[in-house]
Symmetry: C2
Subunit: 224 residues, 2 copies
């Protein structure tokens, strides 16, 4: 394996483990049996390394997402279409490919960067994900035509949150559940998340401007 590939590989692994700022070029190059200057020679800067990782991984995930979406368009299936679309969206992001946990590791990286490098992350995600995500928004939208836009986007937002949390934070629920639930089991995670979010998407629309849920004591605190 040539030096640039080795650098990208170990950089992605280390970034996703410890974050972007916490990982120094020195530690990356040491782990890759490469010299510090190699990073700048091949990529130009530390940030360019991150951008390259995004490019590679996003294009893979996007291609697979679109492939699966097309597949479930052809198939007029017995399983509900909503679930199929969700599967096409979640599977490429959460399920290991090539025996390694590459896609999932990247989604963890993406969640990490979102917090510690907000501006760059926003830009990268918008550049690489928004187009394909937009297609899924359309597809989901068509299945949920009774839902108002506002409710729909909120629920898509919650889906994203659950997806990233599953990819990034496999630890805590194991403690709370006493080990019953293991987010590193990606296949189960996808199945469970499809079921959960499909039900969430299908929930009755919110009754706007009358909050029936909050008890009176807290409703009085609401400021709009």
């Amino acid at each position: 394996m040539d030096t640039p590939s080795r650098l990208l590989e170990t950089a992605e692994e280390m970034f996703s483990e410890s974050g972007y700022r916490a990982v120094s070029l020195r530690s990356i190059t040491k782990a890759s049996n490469a010299n510090m200057a190699a990073v700048h020679y091949h990529f130009g800067s530390k940030e360019k390394v991150l951008e390259r990782i995004f490019e590679l991984r996003c294009s893979a995930i996007n291609a697979e997402r679109l492939r699966l979406l097309d597949e479930c368009r052809l198939r007029s299936g017995a399983p509900p279409v909503l679930e199929q679309i969700l599967h096409a969206y979640l599977w490429p992001a959460l399920v290991p490919e090539e025996g390694d946990q590459k896609a999932r590791r990247f989604m963890r990286l993406r969640a990490t960067i979102a917090n510690e490098h907000a501006e760059l992350s926003q830009e990268l995600v918008a550049r690489h994900f928004n187009q394909v995500s937009g297609k899924f928004v359309e597809a989901l939208r068509a299945e949920l035509d009774q839902l108002c836009d506002e409710d729909f986007f909120w629920r898509f937002h919650f889906l994203l949150g659950a997806q990233y949390y599953t990819a990034a934070n496999p630890g805590r629920i194991q403690i709370l559940s006493g080990g019953l639930c293991d987010p590193s089991n990606a296949n189960e995670a996808v199945d469970e998340l499809i079921r959960f979010s499909a039900a969430g998407f299908r929930a009755a629309a919110a009754q706007r401007s009358t909050a029936v849920i909050a008890p009176a004591s807290t409703i009085s605190e609401v400021q709009r």
Copy 2:
């Protein structure tokens, strides 16, 4: 306002904005009109500052969560109890208090730290959140007795993910939705998330060991 309080306040704000490592003690003390040594004099180290922030904020959120949980125990309400429990859990974490976005800002900080300081974060969250979260697990569990443990914890896990994502990542969905959906509107976020996750919790249980959802072409790729 005395120096330690000022330091904690600005530290929390800056940490939640840019992450823990990215914010230097120098920038914190400069923004607080204090000296670098004050941090070590009052708290001992940069990490102790973070721990102190966790202590203060977690105890506030925990107290409010328990108060609301007790409240909805007393009230044998017309609104479904599941929704009330979810409200008691989400409201204190997502809704601004004292006119400022303190609780929400802290949840954002918590999400940030989870990724860039995994070990410390795990320990702090376990120390400050797990006990109260355990009570909510019990309460939710009692409302969902037909659900098997595994499904239940997965769904609680997804709820956590959606909650943190809403607190931490208010930007993206606005782009995708064309501004229709605004996660910084905490009241709406809580309402929507309650509705979404309540439906998710109530979804039919998964049919284990027979994946009805995934199309055959991808099921064949499953390795267990």
